[in-house]
């Protein structure tokens, strides 16, 4: 009995501070264990290998930063600066780049439906699941050296605190103080590595409340929707900078997604 108590105490001590108090920790663990998230990786694989677009080629030669065709660890090393486009790109933005350059698809066509729903997830969501799955076990090492990578981090950090929109919110309105809840959901302080690490290590993810797969592009878009702003453009500098800020804050975490969220 003492041994059991001891190991439980140890588990608690190892859990991130904000997760310790979570009354939903057991629920979250159980849903993660019984998650259908692997299905999305499986369908994503089919789409990755499917010949598409005017050039009728697959995405198998896509260069996600580790060289053409290399998937292992690619997601965990993003976002980063890409010389060929002279900008900072995250996993999804880079996938779009490959759809356009390799498959010859137009941005409009490839992004016709960036966010899906439960009855019809989007191609991008499936592909993100497949790509991210190849980074399990890799340390998260987003780009931090190139001036544009540094600028993206600084912009994201600043955007995190900007009060804007019809209702005057900033990201910190919800994610700035430890121990707060929106409705019944605990709110992680995302500028704090101890909260950002477990979170970013499990995005993209199957989201129980949407019953489908969701990505970071969606997550940030959806936060702004609830902040009552206009819509941030998919893959824009603003969204990618925010992703960069969160990922750099989480850097060093071992990627273990795609995850399962409430």
């Amino acid at each position: 009995m003492r041994a059991i108590i001891g190991s439980a105490a140890l588990a608690l001590a190892m859990a991130p501070a904000w997760a310790q108090e979570s009354q939903f920790a057991d629920y979250q663990k159980r849903t993660a264990e019984a998650s259908p998230v692997e299905l999305f990786e499986l369908i994503g694989e089919d789409l990755w290998k499917k010949k598409q677009g005017p050039n009728n080629v697959s995405l198998e030669r896509c260069d996600l930063g580790k060289g053409p065709g290399v998937l292992k660890g690619a997601h965990a090393a993003l976002p980063r600066y890409f010389k060929d486009t002279d900008r900072v790109m995250d996993t999804e933005t880079r996938i779009l780049h490959c759809m356009m350059t390799l498959q010859g698809r137009s941005r409009e066509e490839a992004l016709k439906r960036p966010f899906g729903d439960a009855s019809q997830p989007s191609e991008m969501e499936y592909l993100s699941a497949y790509v991210a799955g190849h980074s399990r076990g890799f340390k998260m090492t987003p780009g931090t050296k190139h001036p544009k990578e540094k600028a993206a981090y600084e912009l994201g950090k600043k955007l995190f605190t900007v009060r804007t929109g019809l209702w005057d919110f900033s990201c910190t309105s919800c994610h700035g103080t430890e121990g707060k809840r929106i409705r019944m959901s605990e709110l992680p302080v995302l500028s704090d590595p101890k909260a950002a690490r477990p979170l970013m290590a499990t995005w993209p993810a199957y989201r129980v409340s949407n019953s489908t797969f969701k990505t970071m592009q969606w997550r940030i878009n959806n936060c702004y929707r609830q902040m009552r702003t206009p819509e941030p453009v998919w893959g824009s500098e603003t969204v990618n900078a925010m992703n960069m800020f969160l990922t750099v804050t989480a850097q060093g975490a071992t990627y273990r997604g795609p995850g399962t969220k409430r």
Binding site: F24, M184, V208
Partner: protein, 149 residues
């Protein structure tokens, strides 16, 4: 599913199988009366397990509180010797009977499912063993219901 996805999936096998399995459709048993019951008592009557005796040998592993009723993982084990079936019911769902499994030679009376729960409710598990019915319940609190979304 849309046409785009249809084309991308590993469907050839599944479609061929659909044709082959049609007879299965005619054979498959599905207890319409039990699943259409609006109370667990009626459902259990339809399953022929109306008077079940409580048993500590049925284990229900589930979260005490679920953040979202759309997915509530429930794990059920019967340690009653000779268990041949397990039924899982969510008392307060519009149709309480969630699932029923028959275990034949070679299978252990264990199953783990994800169930939808509309609200906080008792989960009732009924096991059949040696022609007798046994049951156990566990309450699961739900903060957001999961039947309509």
């Amino acid at each position: 599913m849309n046409d785009q996805r249809r084309g991308t999936l590993r469907l050839a096998g599944a479609l061929a199988l659909a044709a082959l399995l049609k007879p299965f459709a005619a054979l498959a048993a599905w207890n319409q009366a039990a699943f259409a019951s609006k109370s667990s008592a009626d459902a259990l009557k339809s399953l022929g397990t109306a008077s079940a005796e409580s048993s500590g040998q049925i284990l229900i592993e589930a979260p005490q509180i679920a953040e979202n009723g759309a997915v509530v993982p429930i794990e059920v084990t019967s340690n009653i010797p000779g268990t041949t079936s397990l039924a899982v019911l969510v008392e307060k769902n519009p149709y309480p009977l969630v699932a029923k499994f028959d275990f034949k030679e070679g299978a252990l009376p264990f199953v783990k499912i994800n169930a939808k729960m509309g609200e906080t409710s008792d989960v009732r598990v009924v096991a059949m063993a040696g022609g007798k019915a046994y049951q156990a319940t566990k309450e699961i609190k739900v903060t957001i219901g999961g039947c309509g979304g």
